[in-house]
């Protein structure tokens, strides 16, 4: 039992991070991700339904342990108080952090919101307009996808991760395919790796365009929002032209790929991407020179590098705080040769930095697609590689919102346990942290600067 804590502690000391933690059979398993993107599993066998908590070592695992407690009845020694996360049957005092003091009151928002927004509940503890503490209660959209996928085949399980979230459909599907291919001892061909990398970058393209527009919407800047909405629409039309689906649904398979690109497809894509690049640069410049927009961004929703690391921030949000991790640099099973993460000039960890991070990554995505779309793409099947002796397959992919881990444990050809921990899941506690100390009217802006999915956190 102590070996578990020691393994986690030494891995963290060596610069690794906790990529996921989940309950499986008679144990709790922690996926540790090294700075180079290698993964290993630390396992704690349960004793009387209890496991040692790692939140003292890695606060980033707090939600994971709370979820395992709610859904699998595990008690974590040292995780006190162990508040519910997925279960909604406790009263307010049971799931919120108590905040007392003169003039402290609560503002409840959601689960339904005043617009086209996913469902989730935010409980703000405030004095006047100042947020002291934010307790987010998600999982209103919990569909039990992981448990429902148990007993499915590799192909059958794909829908459960693909439809977990439209905005991360490719990222989640590729992470799942990688997990299975690790189990089956399959390695990607060059075309398979390139095809999936193209799909991942097309997903990032529309997501980042959408997110920049969303930040404009977060301050009520309609012209910026409309401009980037138009670009998002064009990016989704390009997806449809290339794959038959605006969100690239169905474009990823396990053990191979049916995704092809002809010379006609390439010519169309390259022309469209050139125009999109020019227009998004132009629209971005307009945002830079809009003083009343820019004035809302700096020093709002600040996440320091130290806090970001402790809380397990990932993706553009983490990079905007000066944490350079980008799973693409590890390039596992994908075509990211020579990739280096980019960062804005000012990694202040505020709304402005998170917005700029999207902009620099967007340009990088155009460059990547330019290289990836040089040659036609044929359908391709994965080939036998390293022997697939492992009992646990792990996929790690950089989604538009950050590192996403998918774990598959198999029983022969069927899924025994599926676990999906997305970039959004990792970053939700960071949003709550970023909100504290800020003004309530700035919360929509702070929230939009992360632009996380509820769907793939709730599953």
């Amino acid at each position: 039992m102590s070996g578990y804590l020691e393994l986690v502690e030494s891995a963290l000391a060596a610069g690794s991070r906790v990529g996921a933690l989940y309950a499986s059979g008679g144990s709790v398993r922690t996926v540790i991700v090294s700075p180079h993107g290698a993964t290993q599993i630390a396992e704690a066998p349960l004793r009387d339904g209890r496991a040692p908590s790692i939140v003292g070592l890695a606060p980033a695992a707090a939600w994971d342990e709370r979820e395992a407690a709610d859904l699998y009845g595990i008690r974590f020694d040292g995780h006190e108080p162990l508040r519910p996360l997925v279960h909604h049957d406790l009263d307010l005092a049971g799931w919120t952090v108590p905040v007392h003091g003169e003039d402290v009151y609560q503002v409840a928002v959601g689960p339904t919101h005043a617009g086209v927004i996913e469902s989730g509940h935010f409980r703000f503890h405030v004095v006047g307009d100042r947020i002291l503490q934010l307790d987010a209660r998600l999982f209103y959209k919990h569909r039990g996808l992981e448990r429902a996928a148990e007993g499915q085949s590799a192909d059958g399980g794909l829908a459960y991760v693909g439809r977990a979230c439209a905005a991360c459909a490719v990222s989640n599907s590729v992470a799942y395919a990688h997990a299975w291919e690790e189990l089956l001892g399959l390695a990607p061909t060059a075309d398979l790796a390139r095809g999936r990398t193209i799909l991942l970058e097309l997903e990032r393209l529309w997501s980042h365009l959408n997110d920049i527009g969303a930040i404009c919407a977060g301050v009520g800047f309609a012209a910026g929002n409309s401009g980037f909405a138009a670009l998002t629409e064009r990016a989704r039309r390009l997806n449809e032209r290339l794959t038959g689906h605006r969100f690239l649904f169905g474009a990823v398979q396990v053990g191979g790929s049916r995704f092809t690109l002809t010379r006609d497809d390439l010519a169309h894509a390259r022309t469209e991407l050139e125009e999109l690049r020019a227009e998004s640069r132009r629209a971005w410049r307009e945002l830079l020179f809009n003083a009343s927009f820019q004035d809302r961004l700096p020093d709002v929703g600040v996440v320091s590098a130290e806090d970001g690391r402790a809380l397990g921030a990932v993706g553009p949000a983490a990079r905007a705080s000066g944490l350079p991790d980008d799973a693409r640099a590890a390039g596992r099973r994908l075509a990211y040769d020579g990739f280096a993460a980019v960062a804005p000039r000012r990694t202040a960890g505020d709304v402005q930095a998170r917005l700029e991070q999207r902009a620099v990554e967007l340009l990088q995505t155009f460059d990547l697609l330019d290289d990836l779309l040089a040659d036609p793409l044929d359908a391709s099947a994965a080939v036998p590689g390293a022997p697939g002796a492992e009992a646990v397959g792990v996929g790690l992919v950089e989604s538009p919102r950050g590192a996403t881990v998918c774990v598959v444990e198999r029983d022969g050809a069927l899924i025994r346990r599926l676990h999906l921990r997305t970039g959004s899941y990792a970053n939700w506690p960071v949003v709550a942290h970023a909100a504290a100390g800020n003004l309530l009217p700035d919360f929509p802006l702070i929230n939009k600067s992360f632009e996380l999915c509820y769907a793939c956190a709730d599953r």
């Binding site: 086209v116 996913e118 959209k141 996808l145 959408n210 409309s226 227009e279 132009r282 809009n290």
Partner: protein, 152 residues
């Protein structure tokens, strides 16, 4: 800013959406009852320059108190059943319910039966169904406009 507005005007001209030809409007309240966020992402673009549904007086409102139609996405999860009913109960009569997307219609729903409350139709009386996974913005627009035209 001026460049941005000029570009938007040019885009508007090139898309050349037809002028509104209806004298009616529809106030829509959206409730996500457990979707994958695909329907939401498409719905958001209906207000964008390529569709601009607001020119038909068709907009998303901030409260069910202001709404004619409750537009519901997702397979209704057990946790969203109550908030969905609360939104419906807050609406003034006459009120209508639209189920948006395959999940809301009970098609190919994934998940554990114990975490789901059923189709939208099992929870509320549904007046309009818009299938698709997710339905494209143009399909959503066509369905809502036909609904305006057909509503007494």
């Amino acid at each position: 800013m001026l460049t941005l507005l000029r570009d938007l005007r040019r885009l508007r001209r090139s898309i050349a959406l037809p002028a509104p030809d209806r004298g009616r409007s529809l106030a829509v309240r959206h409730v996500d009852a457990g979707s994958c966020n695909g329907c939401e992402h498409e719905l958001t673009l209906l207000a964008g320059p390529h569709y601009d549904l607001q020119r038909f007086g068709l907009g998303v409102v901030a409260s069910p108190r202001h709404a004619d139609v409750l537009l519901v996405t997702g397979p209704v999860t057990s946790r969203m059943r109550e908030p969905l009913l609360a939104a419906y109960q807050a609406m003034p009569e006459p009120r209508r319910v639209a189920a948006l997307g395959d999940c809301a219609l009970g098609c190919n729903v994934l998940g554990l039966a114990s975490e789901l409350a059923g189709r939208v139709e099992d929870v509320l009386p549904v007046d309009l169904t818009i299938p698709g996974c997710p339905p494209k913005p143009a399909e959503i627009a066509a369905a809502l406009l036909a609904f305006i035209d057909g509503a007494g």
